[in-house]
């Protein structure tokens, strides 16, 4: 028996288990890759129109910061790649991380792998199978992207390079996940570490891409997201970037193999230390338990938001430095969700984006209740005098309160970053904090959606993830695609005033809070009445 014995069976098992989730990812890429150039062609039907738009975007560091370096924007392929590539690369990274962890550490943690490991199974078979499946998925992602983009009207050669750039990002994160899944005994922690790397990659490339000639431009080249965004697929593809990504994959996977060879089954590199033998006097309520369960997740988000807020805030100054602001810039920025004044538009755009990203935390924290249910841990709790409402409320406290706190953090750090670089700390701090906090009611509606799903359709909790995905897609692509009014209105974030710069109106805020409250009440009422388990 070699260390790889049994790998083919595990690959088949993984493909069977992922027969729904992986095709969803792949179809989504196909559809977006196809629809994207088509919609841009409709928006800018002539070369002159495209050139004008490209000119506006190319001079704008804000857009470079948000979406990536503006290259080849004068061609349909380059323009559409630029618009989609950041989300696509982050998505491929996320898919890879989740897939690798799902088939390695999560299996090990639940003990299912032990069942298989007792059979004829090599030590390295699970990791090899997981890396293989994630690599195949990324290859498929690249192929359908190339296919979709070609069908959408962009040149074949460029589309292939474009698809390959996404596969490269996915492969690199497959390798990174192969390493991170070795680190902790908990699949959740392993995912968290890898996603933190993904988030850090984004922030590093933002700083690198906006650094200017004397700044730390090299930061772009420290990470897979930076590589993918700088591949220039539709003009002069830098194929060597694929080679770097592949080398990264191999190197990190090899590290993963080495650790697997040296560690015990179900153990991690970060060892578990003995803890207290008695609970602190405070640990006597469901809320105190929720604090223990949510603190790690919340802290990770808070650190990420603080760093990203400060980094994105400090760029504000270079936005204001644009002297020849063309009408196209203004149009493009307004479409991104801001109003006229450039810095305000930039800040409004990034704060709106952070609002939507904070809503991911909202959904994640709310679904924790369902996670506790499916893992069988709420049964013993509900067999004590804790009521279902009180138990659900303990998790909702973190979902709702945590979201508000995250947005306050990002408001303050963005304000600090912007204020320090524009020497206008007082007003920036206040404005950005207000703008960030005003995103809260919109994010809360997603907690409402999640708790309603938990109450009414507990078997389909994934619907809450679908809801946040739709909201982000509408928010980021809707204005550029010029979606219908009613389609834009689906997203709660559409209804928020554009701040800083706009005027605050109470009506939409009141409506959003009311909708969130109604959804939450419905969800809680259903959760009280249904079977647990």
């Amino acid at each position: 028996m070699t260390s790889l014995t049994g790998t083919p069976s595990l690959i088949r098992l993984a493909l069977r288990r992922d027969r729904i989730i992986l095709p969803i990812w792949i179809y989504a890429y196909l559809i977006i890759a196809y629809a994207n150039p088509a919609s841009i062609h409709k928006l800018y039907p002539t070369q002159a129109a495209l050139d004008a738009a490209a000119n506006g975007i190319g001079n704008n560091p804000a857009l470079v910061a948000l979406a990536g370096p503006a290259v080849d924007l004068n061609s349909l392929g380059g323009f559409s790649a630029w618009k989609f590539v950041l989300f696509a690369a982050l998505g491929a990274g996320l898919m890879s991380i989740l897939t690798v962890t799902r088939h390695t550490r999560a299996e090990e943690e639940t003990g299912r792998l032990e069942l298989l490991g007792a059979g004829i199974l090599g030590r390295q078979a699970p990791l090899t199978a997981a890396v293989t499946v994630a690599s195949i998925a990324n290859l498929a992602l690249g192929i359908v992207t190339a296919l979709g983009a070609t069908l959408g009207g962009t040149p074949l050669a460029g589309s292939i390079a474009y698809g390959a750039s996404l596969t490269a990002a996915g492969w690199a994160f497959t390798g990174i996940a192969a390493l991170t899944t070795q680190l902790s005994q908990s699949a959740r922690t392993c995912n968290g570490i890898a996603i933190a790397v993904l988030g850090a990659s984004y922030v590093l490339r933002v700083i690198g891409d906006t650094a200017g000639p004397h700044g730390p431009g090299w930061l772009t080249w420290t990470n897979p997201i930076g590589w993918t965004l700088n591949l220039h697929p539709y003009s002069d593809p830098r194929w060597w970037i694929i080679a770097i990504a592949l080398a990264t994959t191999v190197a990190f996977t090899a590290l993963g193999y080495t650790i697997t060879n040296h560690r015990d089954f179900a153990s991690g590199l970060l060892a578990d230390r003995p803890g207290p033998t008695t609970a602190t006097p405070r640990l006597r309520t469901p809320l105190a338990l929720a604090t223990r369960l949510h603190l790690g997740l919340f802290t990770a988000w808070a650190i990420g938001f603080a760093l990203a807020g400060f980094a994105l805030g400090t760029i504000t100054n270079s936005i204001g430095a644009i002297i020849n602001s063309s009408p196209q810039v203004a149009t493009a920025l307004t479409q991104l969700g801001g109003q006229t004044a450039l810095t305000n538009a930039y800040l409004a755009a990034i704060l709106s984006l952070t609002g939507m990203i904070a809503a991911i935390y909202t959904v994640q924290a709310t679904l924790r209740l369902r996670g506790e249910e499916t893992s069988g841990r709420i049964e013993p709790l509900l067999a004590t005098h804790v009521s279902r409402t009180r138990l659900a409320a303990s998790h909702l406290t973190y979902a709702l309160g945590g979201t508000a706190l995250l947005l306050a953090i990002v408001g303050v750090t963005t304000g600090l970053g912007a204020g320090l670089t524009t020497h206008n700390l007082g007003s920036q701090l206040g404005n950005d904090l207000t703008a960030a906090l005003l995103q809260t009611p919109a994010a809360w509606t997603l907690a409402g959606v999640a708790i309603a799903v938990i109450g009414l359709l507990p078997g389909y909790s994934g619907l809450a993830w679908a809801a946040i995905a739709i909201v982000i897609l509408i928010g980021e692509l809707g204005p550029i695609l010029r979606l219908n009014h009613w389609a834009m209105d689906i997203s709660p974030f559409t209804h928020l005033p554009k701040l800083p710069g706009g005027t605050i109106t109470a009506t939409p805020i009141i409506w959003l809070v009311a909708i969130a409250a109604a959804l939450t009440a419905t969800g809680l009422a259903a959760f009280r009445r249904r079977d647990i388990g």
């Binding site: 578990d272 207290p276 640990l283 309520t285 223990r292 013993p380 509900l382 009521s387």
Partner: protein, 302 residues
């Protein structure tokens, strides 16, 4: 004599799969009641309904003179539950989990807690994710047994324990009984049930098939008789309640319904008994009789 648990004609269906089909269960205050049945026969479903985690489709359920669904939270102050499959919070230690569950029940006897930890040989400083199945079960058991409650609901509590720990568990339950607590014990371990339980209910496919004290149940089943007589026994095959009769010369063997033991003894005495071995039915036989033909009926799992 009051009843702690009174269930009659309980029905529960999951989708189209019936899990409980007219289940009856009566547990008298102060007794240890064995709850037996094959896998998937509806034991855990019944317990979950008693805890208000599931809602019954129809039937009467009373728990400590309350409605387990409506009065769940007030009733839960008076009971402790050990699930069959114990899952702990991965980042809480065993000790923290014991304290949390005890406090949420309304209090924990810290002396008992210390004593139980020692008796069950459990290290409370380890994180939840590092415990083995048996140790996870010990955490839940210590939390339940150290709580000051009237009723213990235990769902296969010893399925992961080693024989030594099973013994500790038996002692602990015997003490609970002497302290006047009521225990509903779902189990597969027959010796455990035989030692601990005052009464048992056997269920199959969501339906109660036998209930009573072990003596009563034994009465319903067969005794195994082996005898040697001076002359070959005659007329045994016409006696009521005699099964699997085998006669070889002066030696005979048969199974007889315990209710008809008397008639068989008289017939044997007529042939002159030289030796006689009588084996009372074991719980195992009782059990197997109800388990064996369960290959076909479908039942829901936990």
């Amino acid at each position: 004599m009051t009843t702690a648990i009174e269930v009659s004609d309980l029905h529960k269906t999951f989708g189209r799969t019936p899990a409980l089909d007219g289940l009856d269960l009566t547990v008298t205050t102060g007794e240890v009641h064995g709850f037996l049945g094959p896998n998937g026969s509806g034991k855990s479903t019944t317990i979950r309904i008693l805890l208000g985690l599931l809602r019954a489709d129809s039937g009467e359920t009373r728990l400590l003179d309350g409605d387990p669904w409506r009065d769940a939270t007030t009733l839960h102050r008076r009971l402790a539950y050990v699930p069959g499959d114990v899952n702990l919070w991965p980042n809480l230690t065993g000790g923290e989990t014991i304290d949390l569950l005890g406090r949420l029940r309304g209090g924990l006897d810290s002396k008992r807690r210390t004593a139980l930890l020692e008796r069950f040989d459990l290290d409370p400083s380890k994180k939840g994710r590092t415990y083995s199945k048996g140790n996870r079960q010990k955490v839940a058991l210590v939390a339940a047994l150290a709580s000051d409650v009237e009723l213990l609901i235990l769902d296969e509590p010893t399925s992961g324990l080693d024989p030594l720990m099973e013994e500790v568990f038996r002692e602990a339950i015997t003490e609970e009984k002497h302290a006047g607590r009521t225990v509903l014990l779902s189990s597969h371990i027959l010796s455990e049930v035989e030692t601990l339980c005052d009464r048992v209910s056997i269920i199959r496919a969501g339906h109660t098939v036998e209930t009573g004290t072990l003596a009563e149940l034994r009465h319903l089943t067969r005794t195994s008789i082996t005898a040697e007589t001076t002359t070959p026994p005659t007329g045994l095959d016409t006696l009521p309640g005699v099964h699997d009769l085998a006669i070889e010369g002066e030696r005979m063997h048969c199974e007889v319904d315990t209710a008809h033991l008397d008639e068989l003894m008289r017939a044997l005495a007529n042939s002159g008994i030289r030796s006689l071995t009588s084996q009372p039915p074991t719980l195992e036989e009782l059990f197997l009789r109800h388990y064996e033909d369960t290959l076909t009926p479908a039942g829901a799992t936990k």
